[in-house]
Symmetry: C2
Subunit: 212 residues, 2 copies
């Protein structure tokens, strides 16, 4: 499989990630073969979209058959770089940060939080004390850089987020999942994904309000 | 302000929600006036987009001045239906569900979790026992319907999600925030927003992998 990361649009990568989630489920359910139509239906896209997305990576399917689920599962994991375990840093261990520490979803996808930072290192709830040590913020750059961590999760209050990102970039972090309620812009060579539950809630609220 | 909910595209509503988040921050910081250019920059959109989005709601700004932050804050909250408190049901109190219960972000936006359901009502961590009672799943429809709850958060495993949505819809729920790792489709009169951290992680992993 040969391709250049820079040539593939982010929207395509996002769909690949959605295909993988669906294919993982099929794989668990023991399904052997899936057509591009069934795959597209299951993921909510058009079949032509699936074929176009996969075209970036050569032949992933078999003409007249569809896709072998296990092969597709392995190929998508390889393409997305989800074969190995990623060490991740978590910045902010307040309410949201400790909720994320308790959330097992990251681990399921091979992301292990291996360093936690907070301006108040005693902020972690008792329950998580035995599992995680919280470092003070002034050790962030050195620790992340020494551990060679490339991915970070930001869960600090909005006003602190930009400065945290600056430190992370200096420490060599290349990808950031941002939960701070502020839209952070990426830098050259640094990808940022903003997660904002408030935006989702706003959309739902608007919808329900319109029906009153 | 007169407008019909059904005429406004979801992408616009989503941007309104992003504007509100930004304007809330400006309001907290004591900023009085914001230009559509500054607003668009802060939210990551083009200025023309901001004006086009606001055009649905008549004149929100003042020509040559921009927008009065406090007025815009109040208008956006009204438009999005975020003035009152929304009672919300949470389905699933496992790892993710209890993480969401511990997360204060919902409350900040006026969403109060007032009923929790799980097939195992003893699943809640000790710490949250005193605050929340977990109802068994067979009381879901009756309880939600009695309380008149219109918004629900789904945090059950993927295979259980579709059935949960069916029950929620029967109980009168109109808007669902879905954390189950499966893309749920909306129904007529029911809006579903899918949150999937695995998709974000896949995108970040792909980006870092491409740089190795």
């Amino acid at each position: 499989m040969q391709y250049r990361e820079s040539k593939i649009p982010e929207a395509t990568v996002q769909r690949l990630s959605i295909y993988l989630r669906y294919v993982t489920q099929l794989h668990r359910d023991g399904v052997k073969v899936v057509s591009s139509y069934a795959l597209s239906e299951g993921c909510g896209f058009k079949a032509a979209q699936v074929r176009k997305d996969f075209a970036y990576f050569g032949e992933l399917g078999v003409r007249g058959v569809g896709y072998y689920v296990k092969d597709l599962y392995v190929d998508l994991k390889k393409i997305l770089g989800l074969v190995d375990v990623w060490e991740v840093a978590l910045i902010g261990s307040g309410h949201l940060g400790s909720a994320l520490l308790a959330y097992r979803g990251f681990q399921e996808y091979g992301f292990v939080i291996s360093a936690v930072f907070d301006k108040n290192p005693d902020s972690l709830p008792e329950k998580l004390h035995s599992q995680y040590k919280v470092f003070p913020m002034d050790e962030l750059e050195e620790t992340i850089s020494e551990k060679g961590i490339k991915i970070a999760i930001v869960a600090v209050p909005a006003p602190a987020a930009e400065e945290v990102v600056e430190s992370l970039v200096k420490a060599g972090v290349q990808a950031i999942l941002n939960f701070a309620p502020v839209k952070l812009q990426g830098r050259p060579g640094v990808k940022i994904r903003n997660v904002d539950l408030a935006v989702d809630l706003g959309v739902l609220s608007f919808f329900v309000t319109g029906k009153k």
